[in-house]
């Protein structure tokens, strides 16, 4: 291309500058001041006292485990169901009008999705009524507790309901660009459905799946809206705990809340770095394989 002259490079930065400066100011400076506020600068206490307190405090580790449980299970379930739906529907329908039905939950805010799950799965909810109509249960209390439960089942349901459409949105272009003639090759040579998926689709699906996993996992770890409605008081998920600390005791616990958020950001950025590097390598590896042919 003809755009490597210094002038052209300069004009590229001109286009990027407005968005870049907004992001650097809020995300970059915001993260920096969260870190600064988490330290005890110019105080009697040691500099990293809030980190020490955070890591030795038991509700933190309880919250870490429940957050990882919720983030991991909801992300994996959404990915598996989302990929399954995409590969069925892409093959069944030539045109993709169906996608509007599957994308509908993306129009709902997370807390409205939480309300829908509550409406369906609460002890007084729709499925409980259905079970009573069928005759499986006689009283409301016999219905399993699925919302505001210590295993966060309702929160996981909400995320799965909301994130499957996102998985489909990200996977659809992958399947549309895939060369499905390889599928014919595999099938004629006697490959099963699983072999087709493993050998034909995985090279394309893998990097996007990892990216989607990263985006969703990090989002669920840091999101306050759903667990605040469908969670329990103990153990709390990380963002709910941080929000509570942020306003507790006349702001005295703010360094603690900010230390937690800084750690969470650092872990997220590290995970992002590792995953993006892996997908980059994976892509260039498979791109080379394709050029060999």
């Amino acid at each position: 291309m003809f755009n490597n002259t210094p002038l052209k490079r300069f004009s590229a930065f001109g286009y990027l500058l407005p968005a870049l400066s907004v992001i650097l100011f809020f995300a970059g400076y915001g993260l920096y001041s969260a870190f600064r506020n988490s330290l005890h600068l110019g105080e009697e206490r040691p500099l990293f006292a809030s980190y020490q307190e955070l890591l030795l405090e038991s509700p933190f580790w309880e919250s870490v485990s429940i957050s990882i449980w919720v983030a991991f299970s909801s992300t994996v379930i959404s990915l598996v169901i989302g990929i399954f739906l995409t590969r069925r529907l892409v093959r069944l329908f030539q045109r993709d009008d169906w996608k509007f039905a599957a994308w509908f939950p993306m129009l709902l805010p997370h807390f409205v999705a939480a309300y829908i799950i509550y409406l369906l799965f609460a002890p007084s909810g729709w499925f409980s009524s259905l079970a009573a109509q069928i005759g499986w249960i006689d009283t409301m209390s016999q219905f399993p507790v699925l919302v505001n439960d210590p295993l966060y089942t309702g929160v996981i349901f909400t995320y799965v309901f909301k994130e499957i459409p996102f998985v489909i949105l990200m996977m659809l272009p992958v399947y549309q660009e895939m060369d499905l003639r390889y599928e014919d090759v595999s099938k004629t040579l006697g490959g099963s459905d699983w072999t087709v998926f493993k050998t034909v689709e995985v090279p394309w699906v893998m990097p996007v799946s990892l990216e989607v996993f990263l985006i969703l996992f990090v989002f669920v770890l840091g999101a306050f809206e759903v667990p605040a409605l469908l969670g329990v008081t103990y153990p709390k998920m990380l963002p709910v705990l941080a929000y509570e600390w942020f306003y507790q005791a006349a702001w005295a616990n703010r360094p603690l809340a900010q230390a937690m958020m800084v750690l969470l950001s650092a872990v997220s950025l590290l995970a992002a770095f590792l995953i993006l590097r892996f997908t980059y390598k994976w892509r260039s590896h498979w791109a080379m394989r394709r050029e060999d042919v």
Binding site: M1, Y15, L16, P18, M106, L108, I116, V218, P239, Q258
Partner: protein
């Protein structure tokens, strides 16, 4: 054979409907028909009482206006920032491009709560807390990375030959942008606008921290309502959140039509 395939199609469409759309319809019905007592699945009675309660509440109306104003401003600013950024990323190659792209994705890779908590004191100092402006600015964080992504894939799909053709015909860059690029990019602009509006509509914790309880939006009122005994009102309130993006979409389509006819006659 054909009949079997059609049957399969009907089965899958029905499944998609049951999984993704029927739950929202149930919510809509609940707002009209609160009567169903456990273990009744549906009640035949219905009325508009919940909707009357909602629309006669001055706090809700006020919050509704704020929410729409904030959402529209967030969409507009996203458009102004994301379109040039996406153009720069799609049309130029330069050293350090992967780094810049990852920096632009940063707000969705770290928790926005971390950003809001870090910025709180700074925004108090520059007088942005407790104001609409502050809330609009902080809403840029969860939206801008997606807006840039959507617009960039729009530019990627659009062949550069359109711009070259326009240049060959002696049309200025500015004019090319407004008369050629924007109409060709409409599908991306449309998805960007709806996506950004929905994300802005979904913010509770950012609005609560930066707005300090002084800027009232619908989500801030929704949370205390969630556990209220009047299930029809909560259901109706939830339905508003579904209707707002649809209304926004219709108004936005209208504006696009106006724009296109203005461009054609110019």
């Amino acid at each position: 054979m054909i009949a079997k395939r059609d049957l399969q199609k009907i089965f899958w469409l029905l499944l998609l409907f049951l999984l993704f759309i029927a739950p929202a319809l149930l919510m809509f019905w609940r707002s009209l028909s609160p009567g169903a007592v456990w273990p009744e699945l549906f009640s035949g009675e219905w009325n508009f009482r919940a909707w009357q309660v909602i629309f006669s509440d001055g706090n809700i109306i006020n919050a509704l206006i704020n929410t729409v104003l904030i959402g529209a401003a967030v969409v507009l600013i996203n458009f102004l920032l994301a379109v040039p950024a996406a153009y720069g990323l799609a049309r130029f190659n330069f050293k350090g491009k992967p780094l810049i792209e990852s920096v632009m994705m940063m707000p969705i890779l770290i928790p926005v709560l971390a950003i809001a908590m870090g910025m709180h004191i700074t925004m108090i100092r520059i007088g942005l807390t407790d104001t609409m402006t502050g809330v609009i600015l902080i809403h840029l964080m969860p939206t801008l990375p997606y807006a840039i992504r959507v617009m960039k894939s729009g530019f990627d799909r659009l062949s550069i030959t359109w711009e070259e053709q326009s240049a060959v015909l002696g049309v200025g860059r500015f004019r090319t942008f407004f008369t050629t690029l924007i109409p060709l990019l409409l599908p991306s602009i449309r998805s960007m606008a709806v996506l950004v509006f929905v994300i802005s509509l979904s913010q509770y914790v950012l609005t609560s921290i930066i707005g300090g309880g002084q800027v009232s939006t619908l989500p801030l009122i929704y949370y205390p309502y969630f556990n209220s005994a009047d299930s029809a009102v909560v259901a109706g309130f939830s339905v508003i959140f579904v209707l707002l993006p649809m209304l926004f979409f219709l108004v936005f389509e209208g504006l696009i039509r106006l724009y296109l006819s203005a461009v054609r006659s110019a």
